[in-house]
């Protein structure tokens, strides 16, 4: 069976600085992987490179997505193929209603895959259903994308998009940042509802707290641009106790 995501010996530079120095990991369908590590360990860089954000130079290694060379694809192509990044700081787009944005994005992806565009009534039904499950009032969808949204609303909007697009790989970048416990629970419930055997998730976080709600199958500890330790969910608890300091030395 081909792995959903294979990162092999990935080396990445930003300007003159190497951020990732040979990172390797494999994610299979149905799995939830947590990536933990201190600030500056390269967690967000990894998520950006997988999604195709400009400004990063891949100097070595490869990323295969369902066996295909992901680095050869444009970012929108990756999205259409099922790569989804839930942003740590979702941007605001004034004047563009969330509803319009969602429909434009869904249809762009469907078009890229050679599927027919959603009809408006079908689309509305679908959005209403998903929004209700995430406790998102329809009024919120009439406002500009993320404009004036609270931290919790922004994150729920990310989960809403994830549910609509049905991607096969979801990368959640610091989903817990800026959320109180209640908001975190709603967002995590939304994510858990999306767990399925043909979908994988990569959860990036500083803290073990999020992993109480989204329970991972695998935990990787990153430090200084490498994975320095991998294990099961108990590794996260261990880290909570001992901190990251020991791994900083290991990576050096």
């Amino acid at each position: 069976m081909t792995a959903l995501l294979e990162v092999k010996d990935l080396q990445v530079r930003v300007e003159d600085r190497e951020i990732l120095h040979g990172l390797t990991m494999t994610v299979n369908g149905g799995e939830v992987h947590a990536i933990m590590g201190p600030n500056g360990s390269g967690k967000s860089t990894l998520s950006h490179v997988i999604a195709g954000k400009p400004g990063y130079e891949v100097t070595g290694g490869e990323i295969l997505f369902k066996g295909e060379d992901l680095l050869e694809m444009e970012p929108d192509e990756r999205a259409a193929k099922g790569v989804f990044l839930a942003f740590q700081y979702p941007v605001e787009i004034p004047g563009v209603t969330t509803m319009n944005f969602l429909r434009t994005a869904v249809n762009a992806q469907r078009k890229a895959r050679g599927e027919s565009e959603y009809l408006v009534p079908d689309f509305l039904r679908k959005v209403r259903e998903v929004a209700a499950s995430l406790n998102i009032p329809m009024d919120m969808l009439k406002r500009g994308v993320n404009v004036g949204f609270s931290g919790g609303e922004k994150k729920r909007n990310e989960v809403l998009q994830m549910a609509l697009f049905q991607p096969s790989l979801c990368i959640l970048d610091e989903m817990d940042s800026g959320l109180d416990i209640d908001a975190l629970r709603v967002a995590a419930d939304g994510v858990n509802a999306l767990r399925s055997p043909d979908r994988a998730m990569v959860v990036i976080t500083h803290y073990q707290r999020l992993l109480n709600y989204i329970v991972p199958d695998h935990v990787h500890v990153m430090s200084k641009g490498r994975v320095v330790k991998s294990g099961g969910k108990e590794l996260a608890l261990e880290l909570e106790e001992s901190g990251y300091a020991q791994y900083e030395d290991a990576a050096a």
Binding site: G55, E74, D76, L85, I93, G95, T104, A105, A108, F165
Partner: protein, 493 residues
């Protein structure tokens, strides 16, 4: 990332060169001799069978023009225009009186068809059934210097609305024309308006009688076809007491290496309780990606809210022209009158835009609103220049101004130059201005959701201009939205 580079290169090629109205219509035309003199003015006036008073009016303007100098205060740069190197009159040949659309040169009809102009009477003539309740638009089409077709004349006549080429109105309704022509933009107003007064060849005339709500949208489509031809159209719209009219104006031109001159004058007059809504989608050829060619657009547009409680609203979408110099303004003379200016000005490539408005508050309790959205991309310069002034007697005058600029890329410029004068203490003027860039983060967010770079820019820009787009009549809003995306093609790289 070879693929990215390839896209960037491909996009750069299409750039502004992808002007889709850049075709030329091959027809014979009749032109005045090149250059400008009293003889040229006499030639034009004679071609139009004008009465003596009109010729005198023109000659007076011409003589005044000789003493004037080109204005230099706008933030635009261009080589000196040789006014003797232009044709001031060009008419499709054979020139004969046109009784119906059938008699128009098929080449010209074909041109308008390509432009998508709804000369819908054609369809009506051919028995095309249109859905019930669809809004109809009467069109006056101006080709180079002359008006070639005005549709729905009969139906408008029944409502008492006069909508015809101004050259015809001068002959058929001389009293109305005499009463209003030059009363909003006097012949002495400015260099280009004075030039226009001397050599204008055609344009539209609209008169809506008291209490009449014009039964359909009126529209004029301007097309410059001939090489080295200046287009000087003159539009005069009068809404008598309690009347209402919505008027749309569209403009295109073929792609040429030389610059072409367009210097129009538009005058609007509203009497008590009347309203004129004037919308423009200007898409003159902007020049190629090296800044060669394109239209010089020097336009004077002004509305006079002469009556109490009258209203004039300008909405413009400016995407074309190499140079735009244009300030649709309102004189708020009547008490409780209202002026509005909604503008989207987009510049790409080497385009230069200096545009804005003047709101001149003279009457009591007059209000005005200015919403300007400037978008600069490529190597273009985009300036908003606006004046809001309240006279001593304009008690309780109110203005709200919001000028927002959006920059795409790092080689363009956006400038805001507001002039505000309040000469009485009861005036309340508000001014807001913002400048922002489309950030990489916003684009990446959209692209990560499956939109292409171009779609992402289009979406963000359409969100930015939404407040203004909403002011346009429906058909125009859809067209304008498409135009905005096309104008910005290749602006991200």
């Amino acid at each position: 990332m070879a693929a990215v580079q390839e896209t960037v290169d491909r996009v750069r090629q299409i750039d502004v060169d992808q002007y889709r109205y850049g075709f030329e219509t091959i027809i014979e035309s009749e032109k005045a001799p090149k250059g400008l003199s009293e003889d040229t003015v006499r030639y034009i006036s004679a071609k139009k069978n004008e009465p003596a008073w009109m010729l005198e009016w023109r000659l007076e303007a011409y003589r005044r023009w000789l003493t004037m100098e080109e204005p230099k205060w706008a933030r635009v740069e261009y080589p000196k225009i040789d006014f003797q190197d232009l044709y001031y009159y060009s008419a499709p040949k054979p020139k004969k009186t046109i009784g119906s659309i059938d008699e128009i040169d098929p080449e010209i009809l074909e041109t308008y068809k390509k432009l998508g102009i709804p000369l819908r009477e054609i369809e009506a003539l051919e028995g095309v059934v249109r859905p019930e309740g669809e809004r109809r638009i009467a069109v006056d089409a101006v080709f180079d210097s002359v008006s070639v077709a005005t549709t729905f004349q009969k139906e408008l006549k029944q409502a008492g609305v006069i909508f015809m080429p101004i050259s015809e109105a001068i002959r058929e309704h001389p009293d109305l024309v005499k009463q209003y022509l030059g009363t909003v933009v006097p012949t002495s107003d400015n260099f280009y308006a004075t030039l226009n007064s001397a050599v204008f060849s055609d344009g539209s005339f609209v008169y809506v009688p008291p209490g009449v709500r014009c039964p359909m949208e009126l529209s004029t489509y301007f097309r410059i076809n001939e090489r080295n031809t200046g287009q000087f159209e003159r539009t005069l719209i009068i809404a008598d007491k309690g009347a209402y009219v919505s008027y749309l104006e569209g403009c295109t031109a073929p792609q040429r290496d030389e610059n072409q001159l367009h210097a129009a004058v538009v005058e609007l007059v509203t009497h008590d309780d009347a309203e004129i809504k004037y919308s423009t989608v200007q898409n003159w050829y902007p020049g190629n990606s090296e800044g060669k060619g394109g239209i010089y657009n020097f336009v004077t547009k002004r509305g006079d809210c002469r009556g109490d409680r009258s209203k004039i609203s300008w909405t413009q979408v400016e995407t074309g022209s190499a140079i735009t110099w244009k300030y649709p303004s309102c004189i708020l003379r009547g008490d409780n009158s209202r002026g509005e200016f909604y503008s989207i000005a987009i510049s790409n490539g080497y385009q230069q835009v200096d545009s804005g408005t003047k709101m001149i508050h003279l009457g009591k309790n007059t209000t005005s609103r200015i919403i300007s959205k400037g978008i600069a991309a490529g190597k273009s310069q985009n300036t908003y220049r606006g004046l809001v002034t309240a006279h001593r007697k304009a008690t309780n005058a109110r203005n709200f101004t919001a000028c927002d600029s959006l920059l795409i890329g790092d080689q363009c410029g956006a400038h805001t130059v507001p002039y505000i004068e309040a000469k009485n203490a009861s005036t309340l003027f508000e001014h807001e201005a913002t400048t922002s860039k489309i950030s990489e983060d916003v684009l990446f967010y959209c692209v990560q959701r499956g939109l292409s770079q171009e779609e992402a820019v289009g979406l963000v820009v359409n969100g930015f201009v939404k407040d203004v787009l909403q002011q346009l009549p429906m058909e125009f809003a859809v067209e304008a939205q498409k135009l905005i995306s096309i104008s910005l093609e290749g602006s991200v790289g």
